[in-house]
Every structure is written in structure tokens, then in C-alpha cells.
């Protein structure tokens, strides 16, 4: 297998400072990393460490204060996606990058049917033939184990686990280059968590998707990621191969984190 050696995403010195009144709150500072095609990168850290901010900046829900992010398919990786204008940003979201939020309500329109949510994503990605859209939507809902007879129901009336699976179907249906997953199992009960994790793992194995997974759950990180960044107080304190971070953590904070596993 010939391995493409160019990173799919290069993030450099990403910094986000929120100002509230005359107070400055540092969400993340000088975060730099690469993600290679087919690789799953994990970001771990306690709540407030800035890990979700990194994803929000990359998905451009939030404008970074400074820093750059180069996506290989955006102007050949020569310009930062943060320089994109409104139209280009819409294009990036429609075709190249997708996001799965911790709260499915953020990623779904709850008053549009499950099938309609996935179809909407495909329409945004310039799919035009109704039959193609219908087929693809049902294909992905099937893969994510959403029963087909629920396809025309509103996700507002779904369980949390099923809402999350619809959101994953929506995020993946058009085959984005980079998938951002933010605490995708947090708040789900354990058996539902297992189902969602198996689903993501299966998609990862069959499609070779490239992803960044933010989680405070080291079990999720162990199961799904190749490499890990450890964040604390807005900074990356350590990065490495997932097994190395879990078995031979170097930084005092990572040692604490790894030893805090409850079971």
C-alpha cells in the first residue's frame, strides 16, 4: 500500500481568546498538530482544557484569535482555511469537513425527519437526483442502525442514542475528508455508548475516514485513535502514539489523568 505522506490537515499556533467585558479568557493557545489521511487523532483533557474549542475553530463555528489551519484540498494547502470567505466556508462544510456534536440537537434539525436531515446534508453537497439522495440517506441510516421505518419520523422523538446515530449518518453521508467528533458518547448510557463506538469503529475500518475525536474518556481514545494530544489549560502538554500516552505518559498531568481511570 502506498502511503500518502502529506498531512491532510496542518494546524499551526491555533489560539482562541474570549473577551467578556474587560476580562480575557484563554480557551486555547499555540495549538499545533498534523493529521494524516486515514488517521484518527484524539484530543484528551479535562473540561475547560480547550479541546472542544479546537474543533469549533476548525469547523468555523468559532473564529480563532490567531493561527492557521491548512487543509490539503483547500487551495492545495497553501492558504489557511481561516482566510476563507463566507462562500468558501459554506463549501468547506458542505464537502470537506463535517462535525458530530456532543449534543445531537446541535447537529440535527429536530423538526425535519431523520431521512430529511441526511438528505439536507447531501443537497448541500450538490447532490441533485432525488432517487440518489433517498438511496444514500437510507443506506447511511441503515449503516448507523436507525430502523428504516423511523426514517420519516422527527428526531425530536428519538432516544439520545438514536439521535446520535442519525447525526453520525448525516455527518458521514457525503463522504467528507475530515470528520470532527466532539464527545460523541458523553451523556449516553453505557450500552448505547458501546453501540455508537462500534459504529464509528466499523466506519473507520471500512472507509478509512480521517477524524479528530475529542473525548475525556480514555476508553474511547484507546479504542478509536492512533495518536493523542493531551491538553491542559488551553495548551498541548504532551502528544504521542495512543499506547505510549496511556502506558508511558511523560507529563505530570497526563500521569494523573491516566491514573484517574475509575475502573
Amino acid at each position: 500500500m502506498v502511503e500518502p505522506l502529506e498531512p491532510l490537515l496542518r494546524v499551526r499556533n491555533l489560539t482562541k481568546v474570549y473577551t467578556s467585558g474587560n476580562r480575557r479568557v484563554l480557551a486555547c493557545e499555540d495549538v499545533s498538530f498534523d493529521v494524516y489521511p486515514g488517521e484518527v487523532l484524539g484530543i484528551v483533557g479535562e473540561s475547560g482544557s480547550g479541546k472542544s474549542t479546537v474543533l469549533q475553530c476548525l469547523y468555523q463555528d468559532v473564529a480563532p484569535t490567531s493561527g492557521q489551519a491548512f487543509l490539503a484540498s483547500y487551495h492545495n494547502g497553501e492558504h489557511s482555511i481561516f482566510e476563507a470567505d463566507r462562500r468558501e466556508r459554506r463549501e468547506l462544510r458542505a464537502h470537506q469537513i463535517s462535525m458530530v456534536y456532543q449534543n445531537p440537537r446541535m447537529g440535527l434539525n429536530l423538526m425535519v425527519t431523520a431521512g430529511g436531515n441526511v438528505a439536507g446534508r447531501l443537497l448541500a453537497a450538490d447532490w441533485r437526483r432525488v432517487s440518489d439522495i433517498r438511496d444514500k440517506a437510507s443506506d447511511y441510516l441503515q449503516r448507523t442502525e436507525v430502523p428504516l421505518d423511523r426514517m420519516d419520523d422527527f428526531p425530536a422523538f428519538f432516544s439520545g442514542g438514536m439521535q446520535q446515530r442519525v447525526q453520525i449518518a448525516k455527518a458521514l453521508a457525503n463522504g467528507p475528508e475530515l470528520v470532527l467528533l466532539d464527545e460523541l458518547t458523553t451523556g449516553l448510557d453505557v450500552s448505547v455508548q458501546a453501540g455508537v463506538l462500534d459504529l464509528v469503529r466499523d466506519i473507520q475500518h471500512t472507509t478509512g475516514m480521517t477524524a479528530i475525536i475529542v473525548s475525556h474518556d480514555l476508553g474511547v481514545i484507546r479504542l478509536l485513535t492512533d495518536r493523542v494530544l493531551v491538553m491542559k489549560d488551553g495548551h498541548v502538554v504532551e502528544s504521542g502514539l495512543t499506547d505510549q500516552i496511556l502506558e508511558d505518559p511523560q507529563h505530570p498531568y497526563t500521569q494523573l489523568l491516566v491514573n484517574c481511570v475509575t475502573a
Binding site: M1, E3, L5, Y36, E39, A194, D198, R201, H205, L223, D226, R227, G240, L241, D243, Q244, E247, D248, Q250, H251, P252, Q255, L256, N259
Partner: protein, 261 residues
């Protein structure tokens, strides 16, 4: 002798336990040896001597502090396993080196056959072919079709260990790191694993294996490395080693498998 596939020099590893007030542990204090293609190097020593740390440092699960481990890749390039970029380690782990831990660390809720097949699909082999080869490999180790489709987490220790060995040997890599590959096996299964290891050896796979079973060691090892307190205290052919007392002398039943030159 051909060029070594792996040349380890002055490998040292210190673990600093920040959560215990910065206490330091020194599992490896300068380890050097060469490994030839197809060679089986047995690592023995008391518990806590640094045996597993050696394998983990070579596999990069541990970060080494000093030294080098020059590995000759399939393409003929030489890379330092201790320093090569993570990206290259991920590739090497998929294509050229594998680590078999003492206990199976298979992800949950995946049937045994797919646990083994994933080694092959990771190298780009089609799922159907990978499954067939995985099933054959498991069958050789007497994991029948019923077990193949169940989750290894539900298996006995010996069954898990055989799944682990199948994973290592379904497609033998250039370098195999084995942590007690036969510790949980009965005599017959142990003999089968040894046969497979020798087969892989014959195809050029170089192996470093932590062994406690002296009998297994005598059957398969080309050379032995004795580690005590992070140092190599003996290194040479089996016949020259004075073995520490705590090694398991075995029952003699393995002798039927035949000796090793």
C-alpha cells in the same frame, strides 16, 4: 553472518513518577545486542528486571531516554526505532513489526476471526481473503469455528493467548516481539505454537521473546539474553548460559517436538 535486522546500542529508560513525588525507576540501564534475520532471541530474567520494558521501548510504547535501535526495513533503509517519526512507527507496526503482549488486548465486541483478520485488512488485503486466512490460522491453533465467531473477551486465558499468537503469525512480520507467548498453554498447544514460530523463523522473521519456560527456550532459542536490574548479565547461545534459578524447568513433555540446532 548477514547484516543484522536490528542493532540495539546502550538503550536506557527511566520512568519518572510525577504523581509519586518524582520518584525514578530505571528499567533499562544501557542494553546492547544485535539480532539477525530469522534469529530467535530469548530474554530471561527475574520479574522487574526490565524485560517487558525492553520490548515496549523497541515497539515505542515506551519512550526511551538514550541509546539507539537501528532497524533495517523491507525497503533496505535503516531507521532508529527510538526516534523515527510516529507516522513511520504506525506504518512499521502495520507492515513490519508486531508486538504480542502477554494478555490479549483485543478491542471489545469483535469476533475472534475479525480480530485476526484486521491484521491483514490493515495491510490492504480484501476482507473475504483476510477472513479465510484468519480462520485457517485460528484453526491451526485449535480455535474452532464456534469460538472464531465469538468475542475473545469471553475466552479462557489459553484461548485468548492463541488468538494473540494467531494475530502475530497470520502474516509474520520482519520483527516479532513476544511477551510470554506460551505461558497459558497446555503442552499440545505449546508445541503447535512452537511449530508456527519455527515456521515463521524459517521465512526470516526475527523474534525477541520473553520466556519463563526453560524447556520452550531450549527448543527454539538461538541466543539468550539475561537481564538483571536493567543490565545485560549474560548474552550468548543457550549452551553458554547459566540460567537463573527461578526459571520453570518444565515437565520434559515437549521433547517430542524435537530439538533445535
Amino acid at each position: 553472518m548477514t547484516d543484522p535486522i536490528l542493532s540495539v546500542r546502550d538503550l536506557a529508560k527511566t520512568i519518572t513518577l510525577h504523581i509519586l513525588g518524582g520518584r525514578q525507576v530505571h528499567p533499562l540501564r544501557g542494553v546492547s545486542f544485535d539480532l539477525q534475520p530469522g534469529e530467535f532471541l530469548a530474554v530471561v530474567g527475574p520479574s522487574g528486571a526490565g524485560k517487558s520494558s525492553l520490548l515496549k521501548a523497541l515497539y515505542r510504547t515506551y519512550v526511551a531516554d538514550a541509546g539507539s535501535a537501528m532497524f533495517r526495513t523491507a525497503s533496505g533503509a535503516t531507521v532508529d526505532l527510538l526516534r523515527v517519526p510516529e507516522r513511520e512507527i504506525i506504518r512499521l507496526r502495520r507492515e513490519e513489526m508486531r508486538y504480542v503482549s502477554q494478555f490479549l488486548k483485543a478491542p471489545p465486541r469483535i469476533p475472534a476471526v475479525d480480530v485476526v483478520a484486521s491484521v491483514l485488512t490493515g495491510r490492504g488485503i480484501a476482507v473475504a481473503e483476510a477472513r479465510t486466512r484468519a480462520a485457517e490460522s485460528l484453526a491451526t491453533l485449535r480455535i474452532g469455528t464456534d469460538l472464531q465467531t465469538s468475542y475473545p473477551a469471553l475466552f479462557s486465558g489459553g484461548e485468548q493467548q492463541r488468538v494473540n499468537v494467531a494475530r502475530a503469525l497470520v502474516d509474520p512480520p520482519r520483527l516479532l516481539l513476544l511477551d510470554e507467548p506460551t505461558s497459558a498453554l497446555d503442552t499440545e498447544n505449546r508445541a503447535r505454537v512452537l511449530d508456527l514460530l519455527r515456521e515463521a523463523q524459517g521465512r526470516g522473521t526475527a523474534m525477541i521473546a520473553i520466556l519463563h519456560d526453560l524447556e520452550v527456550l531450549r527448543v527454539i532459542a538461538d541466543r539468550v539474553l539475561v537481564i538483571e536490574d536493567g543490565h545485560i548479565t549474560q548474552y550468548g547461545p543457550v549452551s553458554e548460559i547459566v540460567f537463573p534459578d527461578d526459571l520453570d524447568a518444565g515437565t520434559g513433555e515437549l521433547a517430542v517436538s524435537g530439538g533445535h540446532a
